[in-house]
């Protein structure tokens, strides 16, 4: 398992290849890459600042990955999230899950993103023509996370 929080930009292709390297038991890798859009909630977005809670962020992500590893037979997991200033078009987050077969990789990747969106302490502040504004949490993100709750 690898959890990284960094200011520096990253190349999703490099991360994807590293996830599979030197493990011939991996038959499936699923990845998610989130990017900064240039438009949100009816306004142009020129850039954004990502704030986080140092210390808790790493713990929260490690906890989420640990839960995914308990639920699915994963061979490798990588979560990489940027903080600080970002420009439209730049990757914000990379989640990669590797498994012997595709279903575990797909489901675990989806699960990690749903939990990251609702439980990891990151906050986006967008730069718009009308000034900077904090992004509000979305109800549908909460609903997406709830589908993984065990009965």
């Amino acid at each position: 398992m690898s959890v990284r929080i960094q200011v520096e930009a990253f190349d999703p292709g490099v991360e994807l290849n590293a996830l599979h390297a030197a493990n011939l038991g991996i038959g499936a890798v699923a990845t998610f890459v989130g990017y900064v859009r240039d438009y949100n909630d009816g306004r142009d977005v020129h850039g954004m600042f990502l704030e986080h809670y140092p210390g808790m962020t790493e713990k929260a992500l490690a906890g989420i990955v640990g839960e995914a590893e308990q639920r699915w037979p994963l061979l490798r997991v990588e979560v990489l999230h940027r903080v600080g200033r970002l420009q439209p078009g730049e990757p914000i987050v990379f989640v990669g899950t590797a498994s012997a077969h595709r279903q575990a990789a797909f489901d675990a990747c989806n699960f990690i993103m749903d939990y990251l969106k609702t439980r990891a302490p990151f906050w986006k502040k967008e730069d718009t023509p009308e000034g900077a504004r904090w992004v509000e949490g979305r109800c549908r993100d909460q609903q997406a996370a709830q589908r993984w709750s065990k009965p």
Partner: protein, 81 residues
Amino acid sequence: MIRVQYFARYREVLGIDGEQLQRAALGNLEQLREHLLSRGGVWQVLAEQNLMCARNQELCGLETEIADGDEIAFFPTVTGG
């Protein structure tokens, strides 16, 4: 003595990122929130229904009891990813 931290919009509205608090009775997070709300003015931001909180860097509910030395945090709904 406990440490209380504020993040993102709360930090901006309150004008501080955190403070040390000495309280006679620690109680739970809801009681701490009520204490902070009683300061009036900008502190009303903590009355938001979707406020999130953490004790010692783990998400928790407002009913969670506080112990001496704890690190408590209040923040708006998270928006990463």
